[in-house]
Every structure is written in C-alpha cells, then in structure tokens.
C-alpha cells in the first residue's frame, strides 16, 4: 500500500535539508509549516519580504503587534537578534542572492526547473504576483514543496509548464508527498520515494520522464 506523506512529515523532510545557520524565506501556504517543525538543534534565520529578519512564531493570543505580520499577512513575532528594514532592502536580500534557501509552493514544475506558481490559465481573478518572481530568481537554493499531483489527479511535474512561468530554470529540488526529486541536466532524478510506491507507480503520476538514483531512499512518514 502506498503511504503518501502528511503535510507535517513533508515539512520535516524539507527542514532536514536546511543547513544550520541558513537565512531562509518560506513561501506562503504549505511552506510555512517548515518553520513549525524545524528543531531547536539548528539556528535558522527566517526572512520576510516586508522587512523582517529573525522572524519568530505567531504571538500568544491577544499579545500581537498588528503591524508585525509575515508575507501571508499573519501576525508573527521578532526573535532576539532580529531586525527590521525597508522593502527595497528586503528585496536586495532576495534578488541579490543573499537568501540561502527558499521553499516555495508550485502549480507546476518542469524537468528543466521552470516554476509556475503565480497564476493558472483558468484564473478568473485579477493576476497577483507579490514577491514570488524575485525570490525564485534570487535565492541561492530554490526548493519546491507541493503535492505530487493536483486535487483532481493531474501531474504537476511536467516536461514543460503549461501555466505562465514565475521563473525559468530555477528549481533545485522538489519535495512532494510521494517523492524527493532533484532537477538535473538530465531532468528529474528521484532520490527518495514514499513507502510502498514502485518506480512505475511514481512515473504514472508524473508527466515528465523520471530517472532514478542507484540508491533510492524511503521517505519517513512520521
């Protein structure tokens, strides 16, 4: 039986790859879980595009500062050593290659590392991009955290994106509820898979052609 990873297990797997001492920007949505599960054994400095380094967790109810929010507009706190700066400097950090790791959600990722995560072709809402494009082109390492397929079962890992791109050839590694895959010059290379999943079953759920590392690991479910 295939055991897909829970969101929390997926977040733990991503967190395990973030080195101690990293400056990290987490995209809104699923990636914010990474900060919740990253253990105290590592010192990680979280960056927010609205001018925060050393961002801490949500405040206790009733104690928050309404102006102190994260990119998702949720209340946060500032850790000792943290600081504030203005928007232009926040994006100097992002675009200028000063952020070590970013974790982003995705609608689609192509086998050459193209990322589509800001609009779909069926979008009836006004377009909105925020800081996604700056982060995707500027962070030193771009990790994608997503479900392997869409809610209605369509593959998200494709030979080429069909939705408008956020940035081209930027994704380094993709973490899904079924697998960990590196983007290599030869396309997606599977490093780890969920328990009970065969290579053939993973390929069936993936539109891009997969290759498999010699020693594919099993993803921990807890």
């Amino acid at each position: 039986m295939i055991t897909p990873l829970s969101d929390v297990a997926l977040a733990r797997r991503v967190a395990a790859d973030i080195p101690d001492g990293s400056y990290v920007n987490l995209g809104i949505g699923l990636p914010t879980l990474v900060a919740d599960v990253a253990g105290p054994d590592k010192e990680i400095v979280y960056h927010s595009e609205n001018g925060i380094l050393g961002m801490g967790p949500a405040p206790a109810p009733g104690t928050g500062d309404p102006e102190l929010i994260n990119a998702g507009k949720q209340p946060v706190t500032l850790l000792p050593g943290g600081c504030f700066f203005h928007h232009t400097d926040a994006f100097v950090m992002m675009r200028g290659g000063h952020i070590d790791v970013t974790v982003l959600g995705a609608f689609q990722v192509s086998e050459r590392g193209d990322l589509a995560n800001w609009m779909t072709d069926v979008d009836m809402h006004p377009p909105a991009v925020g800081g996604a494009m700056d982060l995707a082109v500027g962070a030193r390492r771009v990790l994608v955290m997503t479900t392997h397929v869409t809610r209605d079962g369509r593959p998200k890992l494709l030979p080429a994106c069909t939705y408008p791109l956020t940035a081209a050839a930027v994704v380094d590694r993709v973490y899904t509820d079924l697998a960990v895959l590196d983007v290599t010059p030869g396309g997606f290379l599977v490093r780890e898979m969920a328990a009970g999943l065969t290579a053939g079953e993973l390929q069936e759920r993936t539109a891009a052609r997969l290759s498999f590392a010699g020693d594919v690991g099993v993803l921990a479910t807890a």
């Binding site: 102190l68 500032l78 926040a90 992002m94 800081g131 500027g138």
Partner: protein, 222 residues
C-alpha cells in the same frame, strides 16, 4: 526656520491635483497611512494613479478610494488580498486599469526614481509574460528585463515619530515601503503617532532623513 509639521490632515493633503500619481505605503494592513488616505478621499482629487502593494480590503483606505471611483489606474504587486472586493469589482467591469509589477521591482523602480536613475535591468520576471514586448538584455549570461523608474507626484506614508525637520523613525514591519516612497515623490507627506523635539531622535537610528520629507502630521493619541 524649517518646520514641516502641519496642523491638520486637510493641510497635509492640500494641493494634490486630479490625475496625480500617488504612492501609498503599506503591506496588507501594516503601515498603511489610513488617516491620510481618508483625508485624500475628503480632499476630492480624482483620476488618480495609485502605486501601492495591495489593492486595499474592506471599505477603508485604498479600497474606499477605489469604491469612490477616484482611481483610474493602480500599480501594485498583489491586488488579490482577502477582502479586496472593490478592486475586483471594478477590475471585472473594466473600470480600473491594473499594472502588475513584481514586488521587488515595484520597490526598486521607486528607488530608481528617488535616486535619480533612468531605470535598471533585473532578472526578475525576464522569462515571464510580464516581460512580453519589453527590452531584454543578457547580462552575465542571464536574461534581464529593463524596468523604468516610477516616480510619484505625492507619497503618503506612515511613520512612528518625527521631528520638525521631518526626520523619521518607524515601528516594526510598518516601515515597509515608506523609506523608499519618501525618496520617490515630489511631495512626501507623512503621518506619525508622535512629534518630538529636534535632537530627541537618535541620529544613529534615523531611518528617513528629513531631506526626503515635506509635510508631517500627527494622528491619534500623542
């Protein structure tokens, strides 16, 4: 003698003309100069181009300006916030123009205007539909798109404390676009919580030097 303090919100927004480009600080509900925007609403200027990160939400500040049909065009990165009903309504009806700009590019275009630069090339968005029809240059092996400066006729921003020279300090993440917008407008108007005497602000910690500020007005409790 230099005294940039004005007595009332009406004085603060006096002279803003129809058709003006107005830079409005804020990120979500953090750092929005709510009282200045409401004063602009009362002042009556229309046919405005508003440059701001989000398109307002609910019935107040930027959303109210849009609702009252005072905004011809909005330049922003993320107009699709929860509660941005008025922008969405007018956008669907074709009654408001949207120029969507990646967030870091929005900030840097204003920085360029304030710094007297003729624009810049950035990798952000260069491989996306936002760069269609625009000048592309390959720099260091990477595609960059040209971005023009984005000056304002007026900037409306929020800070925490000011002295009569217009030196400013901000509070937490409310700083966001304020320091950049202050440099980029012909007339920079600031609302603050508190006036202080000259010399009371730590000169090592002044964030916006008064040279960038034209008017300051105190709102709320001193």
């Amino acid at each position: 003698m230099i005294d940039k303090r004005v007595a009332t919100l009406a004085d603060a927004v006096a002279g803003i003309s129809d058709g003006a480009t107005v830079l409005i600080g804020g990120f979500g509900d953090s750092g929005v100069p709510v009282e200045l925007v409401h004063a602009l609403l009362d002042q009556g200027a229309r046919d405005l181009t508003v440059v701001t990160n989000n398109a307002g939400s609910g019935e107040r500040d930027v959303a109210a300006l849009i609702r009252e049909r005072r905004v011809r065009k909005i330049v922003c990165s993320y107009p699709r916030s929860a509660g941005s009903i008025w922008f969405e309504t007018l956008w669907r009806a074709g009654e408001i123009e949207l120029e969507l700009v990646p967030q870091g590019t929005l900030s840097e275009r204003m920085r360029a205007a304030g710094a007297g630069l003729g624009g810049f090339f950035t990798p952000t968005g260069a491989d996306t539909l936002l760069a269609e029809g625009r000048e592309i240059r390959v720099i260091g092996g990477r595609r960059h798109v040209f971005e023009a400066p984005l000056p304002g006729d007026v900037a409306l921003i929020k800070a925490h404390r000011a002295d009569r020279w217009g030196n400013l300090v901000y509070r937490t993440a409310a700083r966001n676009f304020g320091p950049t917008m202050a440099t980029a407008a012909a007339l920079t108007v600031v609302q603050v919580d508190q006036f202080v005497e000259l010399g009371e602000l730590d000169p090592e910690a002044v964030v916006t030097p008064g040279i960038f500020v034209d008017r300051v007005v105190r709102v709320g409790a001193p």
